[in-house]
Symmetry: C2
């Protein structure tokens, strides 16, 4: 079994290496790419039975454009922009690529935290300019800190394990009160996690009910002096409330999903020295990149063989 025609949106050829394209080309008769600018002028197409999307929205309208669509392969972990319910009604299977970036993101979280706690980049450039004195550098330890985690998916769980080994007191909140084997990592209400944490790391998926979940009340309750790290989508956060809190200069907020943000929103946050914005370098490790392509292609093969995996609808 093969697909007849695959349409790829929100991803470019370069997102997947030639080795994996070779495998994909054997699974479909044809591949076409459409840019986001072409979405408005999309015409009905009965040949397309497979749609690949990275971060682009796939709504009812789009699904209706392809009457014979059987499969939507999301080339990402998050699938919040796909109308999975409507796809289900139309008997279209939607799969995602989970877990590939767990280690990559979890390790970066500690890189970002240690950068803030230890002023590593400032120390590096100080030495580079010939000043080897530690005078004026401050440092605190992860050990002994209250380390809060919102969202206990794969990445949240991994961050919790690492924080616990670093000697932090780990608190977490997860929607379904998920339990962990490690009893030293404790469940608490969202408001307790947010207000008690010295270090707070966000690991919620973007879906119904999580958009703007870090609302004004919660943002105002963040502990003074806390370090908040968000390697998840910024849609989780009420930006106006965050901006007001940043203006008080009593928290530090670090984020890396800048690629998915509006230019205006980036500009608003960039004004604040205590808001540290990174390019989206969380999921880009060599190992994650290989795992992502491996899982994605295996999803396609699984569906064609009638043994679909990683279905999200």
């Amino acid at each position: 079994m093969k697909f007849k025609k695959m349409i790829v949106t929100g991803a470019t050829k370069g997102d997947i290496s030639s080795d994996y394209w070779k495998q994909i080309n054997q699974l479909t008769g044809e591949v076409v790419f459409i840019g986001s600018e072409d979405l408005a002028t999309l015409e009905k197409n009965c040949d397309i039975d497979c749609l690949i999307s990275k971060f682009n929205p796939v709504d009812k309208h789009m699904i209706d454009m392809f009457p014979n669509l059987k499969y939507i392969g999301v080339y990402a972990t998050g699938y919040g922009k796909i109308d999975t319910e409507y796809a289900k009604k139309k008997a279209i299977t939607v799969t995602n690529v989970p877990g590939y970036s767990t280690e990559s993101v979890a390790e970066l979280v500690f890189g970002l935290i240690l950068e803030e706690l230890r002023e590593i980049s400032r120390a590096k450039s100080s030495s580079k300019s010939g000043n080897y004195s530690e005078e004026g550098f401050t440092a605190t330890e992860i050990k002994g800190k209250t380390f809060g985690i919102l969202g206990l998916g794969r990445i949240g769980t991994r961050v919790a394990e690492l924080a616990s080994t670093f000697g932090a007191k780990v608190l977490y909140w997860s929607r379904n009160k998920k339990k962990l084997r490690d009893k030293s990592i404790k469940y608490a209400s969202m408001s307790r996690v947010v207000s008690q944490s010295d270090i707070l790391s966000l690991h919620l998926a973007l879906c119904d009910g999580t958009e703007g979940i870090l609302d004004k009340k919660l943002i105002n309750s963040i502990k003074k002096g806390a370090l908040v790290v968000n390697t998840a989508p910024m849609e989780l956060v009420d930006l106006s409330a965050l901006e007001k809190r940043l203006a008080k200069r009593d928290i530090t907020f670090v984020l890396d999903h800048s690629d998915e943000m509006e230019a205006g929103d980036l500009k608003r946050l960039k004004k604040y020295e205590n808001c540290i914005i990174y390019p989206p370098i969380g999921y880009i490790s060599k190992e994650a990149s290989i795992a992502k392509q491996e899982i994605f292609v295996s999803n396609l093969k699984g569906f064609l063989k009638g043994k679909p995996d990683n279905i999200v609808n």
Copy 2:
């Protein structure tokens, strides 16, 4: 019991906070400070019964200047520059301050590693200048790497535990084949640890037999592409051999003991982009600073009460 006169060398009043000076002043009749430039003109003094040194050498000559010296308090963990044997012959107790910086240094080791593996400072400044693209950024994970540790004191042990939780294959060498409870952390010969590690972290104390221990042969055997982190004294490393290896641009060497190095040596190494030099920010965490002063003062009190602790000779 009190000391009659305390002489402090290689440390300034600012090294210890006023709270702890209050306690120290109650333990001695008098305190005098001498700078390294005054050491040459030092005169015999029979009043001095207590000598405090940070990193300054305390040799036979100096010990002989103080015929009534009873106690040398090293305000540091390392005591390689103190002639402890001669002090012992003269019935002088030497104590150090062990363990205070274990977490501070171990955490920094991972900060320095993640900075190199994830290009955090470059990403930070890229965003700061308005470029939010991850293009051109590379990243690899600690997980799955072979992580070598030379020296299994407190810091080496802690780094081994953390590396193991990060999912690295941990190999270590220690002089007395020290055993660890965690069986996943494996002992190996020094040459195997050095030649097989993707990440190599040095945690040996500077003492007889460790000076220049990372010699030409070992330096040449470091794996291509490896990241070497030295948060221990650079006296452990043959600098000429390191310089030659750095010139091949096939390893990255990170160090933070720049304060103890000769200006000429720093200049030699600084030429190489693959040699990353930091100010000595390993041990400076707030928590470590408090613990250091606490242990130091408690050493003084313990000696005066006839219950000396942390004796190193």
